[in-house]
């Protein structure tokens, strides 16, 4: 019995109580279908159609080599390495942006056009493409597009400013949704735990306190494993 079949039998066995499902494909056919697909990869709950879409997008290539190199340079200007953590490219951000450009094709023209603008600007000013210019020259160009006037609605800015804002957004989101970025941020959740209130020093830091009457109504986490029972008036007894 392969892994997929054993998972299936576990589910049917323990949860659905050995029940046969009707309406879908005959069991054997359904199992044969997806075997190769499903056993070789990790799962994050995709339906077969969603998996297919991801495979299609991964099979395409949007950025050419030059664009990818320029993207890497740009991402690392936005988020270079520091003493503790790697840069945006160390965290795989260019690959993520490549995927998003295919996933949200509406971004494609702005991205591609933005790279062309960067090279044109750099060639005009310094006689070289952006990716091969000196860091000081690159920063000189970025300084003209990285600080949008907040009084102007974002869609009214010149494209090069919108382009840079888009790249910065994608770079930061790509970084902070990577394993490295989440460690850097210090996000501590996404794991089983028992929530028992805000730490005292945090309450003090932010100048708030719990109301004792409120706390008295809250769950006593030492009794969470005891089955609930009530009296007739709805008072919890356990």
């Amino acid at each position: 019995m392969d892994r997929r079949k054993s998972i299936k039998s576990i589910i049917l066995g323990s949860v659905a109580g050995g029940l046969a499902m009707h309406g879908c494909k005959p069991e054997a056919e359904a199992a044969a279908d997806g075997d190769a697909l499903l056993t070789s990869e990790h799962h994050f709950g995709r339906t077969p159609e969603e998996k297919e879409l991801i495979q299609e997008l991964n099979a395409e290539q949007f950025f050419n080599v030059h664009e990818l190199e320029t993207l890497g340079v740009l991402c690392d200007l936005i988020l270079p390495a520091n003493a503790e953590f790697g840069s945006a490219t160390d965290a795989g951000v260019p690959d993520f942006i490549e995927f998003m450009a295919k996933d949200i094709p509406e971004m494609q023209t702005d991205l591609r056009g933005g790279f062309m603008w960067l090279d044109h600007k750099c060639n005009t000013e310094f006689g070289t493409e952006f990716k091969t210019a000196a860091e000081e020259q690159q920063k000189q160009i970025l300084d003209t597009i990285a600080y949008p006037d907040v009084e102007v609605p974002s869609e009214e800015h010149p494209l090069e400013i919108q382009f840079f804002s888009l790249i910065r957004n994608l770079t930061l989101t790509g970084y902070y949704t990577s394993k490295m970025g989440i460690t850097d941020l210090g996000y501590k959740g996404n794991m089983p735990n028992v929530w028992d209130g805000v730490p005292d020093e945090v309450l003090a830091q932010h100048g708030v306190a719990y109301d004792p009457d409120w706390l008295a109504k809250c769950v006593d986490q030492s009794k969470r494993g005891i089955i609930a029972e009530w009296d007739e008036a709805g008072n919890l007894l356990t």
Binding site: I7, L38, R168, L185, N190, W195, Q205, I227, A228
Partner: protein, 572 residues
Amino acid sequence: MQIIESPTKYDVVIVGSGAGGGMAAKILADEGLKVAVVEAGPFFDPANPEQQTQLKWPWESPRRGASTVRHFGDFDSAYGGWDIEGEPYTNTEDSNFRWFRSRMLGGRTNHWGRISLRFGPKDFKRKDQDGLGDNWPIGYEDVKPYYDKVDKLIGVFGTNEGLPNDPDGFFLPPPKPRLHELFYIKGAKKSNIPVIPSRMSMLTKKINKERGVCFYCGQCSRACQVYADFSSGTCLIFPAQKSGGQIDLFVNCMVREVTTDEEGRATGVSYINKEDRKEYKLHGKVVVLAASACSSARILLNSKSKQHPNGLGNSSNVVGKYLHDSTGVSRAVFVPDLMNRKTYNEDGVGGMHVYSPWWLDNKKLDFPRGYHIEVWGGMGMPSYGFGFNVNEFNKFFGLKVGGYGNGLREDVKKYYGSVLGFGGRGESVPQQDNYCEIDPTKVDEFGIPVLRFNYQWTDYEHKQVNHMQDTFEELAHNMGGEILGDRPSKEAKHGISPPGWIIHEVGTTRMGDNPKTSVVNKFQQLHDTDNVFIVDAGPFVSQADKNPTWTILALSWRTSDYIIEQLKQQNI
């Protein structure tokens, strides 16, 4: 093509496996009846590793959870959304009703907010108070015993506060508030807006031997693998099967119509099997519709016969009418006192730990019906969109916005967890002119005629959401915060969400004593056909400012008891 008939004769055929269908399946199967449950989507179990999204990290999705494919992002468990390929719907001119459907076992209970509010005594008798709409033919006292049973069977945390229209119940103890919720409590107090612990159906304490206890990952929208939150599959259908109930699940089966005999009584349903695209028939003594308010109305309207030329149960011409959703407006506020946070795990339960029930007297206001306030915020797990406009709030301090370089890392940390949001969810006044009907010009990919919507909010709702905006601005001010975005203008209807957006659509097969003005009686039985029942939110006469699920569950249980009794007495 010949329609393929199943030789099995079921006692009850249930259409839909969400809150209403799941509860009916459990109660009827526990009684020993032979039940078929027909679901338009695939089998779903959050304990199945292949279907799980809970406890996944953002990098496990190549789009980092972006909402390109699923409306609430890659990790939300809904299979479906406001638009489903091959299953269109239309709107009349100027109407923009948005219809959310989840095609999966358990339906929308797999990803809903778990806000589990009882309707109060006033909610069943709104006409008595403001002269608008209609009273329900039943009152709180009729439903209370079932609310009590639902509390105990499924589990809901909350507190008994003795409030007149937000009744007490059998609650599990609530979780402690998070930091941003303490700020909300403090801000609301300054305006005398009450705040109480939320009432939500996650298990903060063990309720039986089968289901796990909440482990505070904050991801109920992803559906819980230890069944610590309420979903219809995990908490009703699977347990009923496990205890020996005769339930046959027909998944990926899209019901077309209720079939009837020469006398006009229901004989079962016909459905399209999505896998082989052929039409099948199931036979049942009783048909229970639980497909969702609009889907059940669609099935009835498509069930035309010599005996029911206007659609089944529609001699009154009321099927589809009085469609109404909750009103909704949301705003966010940046709170400088929440900057520079020490990080710790504050995932908590999925959603809010505190909320504000409606607190004012409409007689002193320029609109009828109330709203409650939901709160969100905190140091959540990053997903697509995190870090966008990274230091936008610099503008509040006269600092430069934008830039590049390692300074951005500090900006991210400085502002992480400093935004708090409010959502107002209000009761609208049901209108006969807000309806769904069959659009004769269109069918879905299964050949079934689709729905056309006609829906306009009235001044009652516009004035109510304008009041929400006032409240939110006052709360933001009380917290020393900066409210984000511009206040929507009067011309923009004060920012009211399009109808359907709050996903509380109800009222399409409303309940009443008079068969001329209602579709079902007080036991949710069609006036026209005594062996057809509706246990979704279609029978709601009015919606209250309460999320509908707990009432769907209570009424479905009540109707199921009635079906059992009627079968025993051989009345149906």
